[in-house]
């Protein structure tokens, strides 16, 4: 089914989904597989460092966001995510490092954030005495250049048009989140930064937000999504950057990261485990084999199962089961951010 979706953002041409993308996006909330983003750099964080009194919140952090991609920005509490977002938005002065937006250093042009970024910082905050519509109007006046009718369009998009006249202080948490999403899109920004956008929403509301995020990217806008909802990040992100104690631990496409944590489980009933180990090690693509509670855990590409089975058979053993197992992002996240993970993960991975 080819079905053009109406653009979320005025000025962006509607993108027709391919049949595969359309079916996949309907079948599961996961974002349709996208080729690696090769568009222009929208955001570059280069060597960002920030120290507060006696601790370093962000330590030589570098990452990029390209046009049209969704970057999931993950880390445990206190990892430095909010501080990093603060430096990107010009709220916090980095001690070292550079933020480039659309190729220009933020230090050279402080209007870059207003012109190119829409952001929700932690919980969406608006003026309690103004209505939803008036809050958007106030924000639109502050940034300037918002076309007529844009506010009504956004209120309809986030399903707040019927409550637009109510005071913000009377909004539910879900309504506040939705108004926050609307405010980030006022200027059709190149980059949307969302910090915990589904916080407090019911499942329907969470799904609505998850559906909006990939649509933004499909229309050529980039999204930096900071969230603790790992399954949600896994579904909508093209790439993920994981930080811990202010440092970047790992960065890569979701698929690549999940493949890294995957393994093949082999059960060879009744066989000598050591012999089975040796047989499996003979397969060239096998990186590592260990024995764990009667199972052989094999680190190898998913398609190595046939080769493993053949090698066992050649050594007179018959595999009872050979199953490719994949990590979830949660598994990977917890493994990389637990307390006894390497103190300097970049150095450890390079060794």
């Amino acid at each position: 089914m080819n079905q053009a979706q109406p653009p979320l953002v005025a000025g962006a041409p509607p993108q027709a989904l391919s049949v595969a993308q359309g079916l996949r996006s309907i079948a599961s909330p996961a974002r349709a597989a996208q080729p690696a983003a090769t568009g222009a750099l929208v955001l570059e964080a280069i060597g960002l460092t920030k120290r507060f009194k006696n601790f370093t919140a962000v330590d030589d952090l570098s990452f990029q966001v390209r046009q049209g991609e969704v970057l999931g920005f993950l880390g445990p509490n206190g990892a430095g995510k909010s501080t990093t977002v603060g430096m990107i938005l010009g709220l916090i002065h980095p001690d070292q490092g550079t933020v480039r937006i659309m190729g220009t250093d933020l230090k050279d042009d402080s209007s870059l954030v207003a012109n190119h970024i829409g952001a929700i910082i932690e919980n969406p905050a608006f003026y309690p005495y103004l209505s939803g519509r008036d809050n958007l109007e106030a924000h639109a006046l502050a940034v300037g250049g918002v076309p007529a009718g844009r506010i009504d369009e956004l209120l309809k998009l986030v399903n707040l048009h019927e409550r637009a006249g109510d005071k913000f202080k009377n909004y539910s948490l879900g309504m506040k989140q939705r108004l926050g999403i609307a405010s980030t899109l006022l200027t059709s920004p190149a980059l949307v930064i969302l910090d915990e956008p589904t916080n407090g929403l019911d499942p329907a509301g969470q799904r609505e937000i998850r559906d909006i995020i990939p649509r933004l990217a499909d229309e050529g806008h980039s999204v930096l999504l900071a969230s603790h909802m790992l399954h949600e990040v896994e579904q909508v992100s093209d790439r993920v950057a994981i930080v811990r104690r202010g440092k970047l631990i790992t960065e890569g496409s979701v698929d690549d990261l999940l493949r890294r944590g995957g393994y093949i489980e082999v059960i060879v009933p009744g066989a000598d485990q050591e012999a089975a180990l040796r047989a499996i090690r003979r397969v060239p693509v096998v990186e590592q084999v260990t024995v764990e509670q009667g199972r052989l855990i094999v680190v190898a590409p998913d398609d190595a199962g046939a080769a493993i089975n053949r090698s066992l058979f050649e050594q007179g053993m018959v595999a009872g089961s050979i199953t490719a197992k994949h990590s979830t992002l949660e598994d990977l996240f917890l493994e990389m951010t637990e307390d006894n993970a390497p103190a300097d993960p970049v150095a450890a991975s390079a060794a």
């Binding site: 909010s82 501080t83 603060g86 938005l89 010009g90 709220l91 916090i92 002065h93 402080s110 209007s111 954030v113 207003a114 970024i117 952001a119 910082i121 932690e122 919980n123 969406p124 905050a125 608006f126 003026y127 309690p128 005495y129 103004l130 008036d134 109007e137 106030a138 924000h139 006046l141 502050a142 940034v143 300037g144 405010s183």
Partner: protein, 265 residues
């Protein structure tokens, strides 16, 4: 900065407090003049005469407009402290800063709106007080009983009211921003206006040198502009001192906010 000014103006117009303060001050003035006017009809002869003299137009600067100075000053300190204080308490300072072209333009827009509101508030309340005085004088005394020269002095006093409010407005903005608290901004601005004269009165009794030091303070120069105005050199020096305090407080506001890491609010 123009876009930020438009946004500030929009929000001030839409905020009930902006209008409520003006209405409250107007009601206060109306009650005082109205009550005293009615009183002239029920008081004994001597008290009625005293009331009529108090209500008279040529007593406006010492009576009605001095209330403006006190009451209006408190109202304006509340407004000014909220310029940044409210943004922190509502957690809107970070989104606002992310939308501003620069921190300088944000601070400038805030200060311009505070001073503009201060001007509108001062002039509106003063005009109302003048009108109430006219009406009270007419009702209580049976005639207008004022001169063009007096009207000119009242106009000069109103300008003086605005000028003498400026440093307190700037101080309230500075403290509200620095402490991220409305209450602190209000407390410091109002506190200094009340405590300073009492403090110097006490200190003068200890040592005459404080007589001289007091002339560098806020209160002495406010009194000089409002109550001892004769277009003398000292009067203009006092205007200069008050404007200098204003500039210092404004400069500190810029310096602190431009360098600050905004991690909350």
């Amino acid at each position: 900065m123009g876009t930020l000014l438009r946004s500030e103006l929009f929000r001030i117009r839409k905020r009930p407090q902006s209008w409520l303060m003006l209405v409250l001050a107007a009601v206060f003035v109306a009650l005082i003049y109205g009550g005293m006017t009615v009183g002239t009809f029920f008081a004994n002869a001597q008290n009625a005469t005293d009331l009529r003299e108090t209500l008279a137009f040529d007593n406006l600067r010492d009576f009605g407009l001095s209330f403006n100075s006190l009451f209006g000053g408190i109202m304006l300190a509340i407004f000014a402290a909220g310029a940044f204080g409210n943004e922190y308490s509502w957690n809107t300072i970070r989104p606002l800063l992310a939308r501003a072209r620069s921190r300088t333009s944000l601070v400038t827009a805030k200060l311009v709106m505070v001073f503009l509101y201060g001007l509108v508030f001062t002039v509106s309340l003063a005009v109302l007080t003048v009108v109430m005085s006219f009406v009270s004088t007419l009702v209580a005394n049976g005639n207008w009983n004022f001169s063009g020269e007096e009207l000119g002095k009242v106009a000069a006093y109103i300008v003086g009211l605005f000028v003498t409010n400026l440093p307190y407005l700037a101080l309230a903005v500075l403290v509200g921003m620095w402490t991220k608290s409305n209450a602190a901004g209000i407390g410091v601005a109002i506190g200094i206006s009340f405590i300073e004269p009492v403090l110097f009165m006490t200190l003068r009794a200890v040592n005459d040198v404080f007589d001289t030091i007091e002339k560098g303070g806020l209160n002495w120069n406010v009194q000089e502009v409002l109550y001892r105005w004769s277009n003398s050199q000292q009067n203009w020096i006092s205007v200069g001192v008050l404007l200098l305090y204003t500039v210092i407080f404004v400069a500190l506001t810029y310096r602190i906010f431009l360098r600050r890491d905004v991690t909350s609010g």
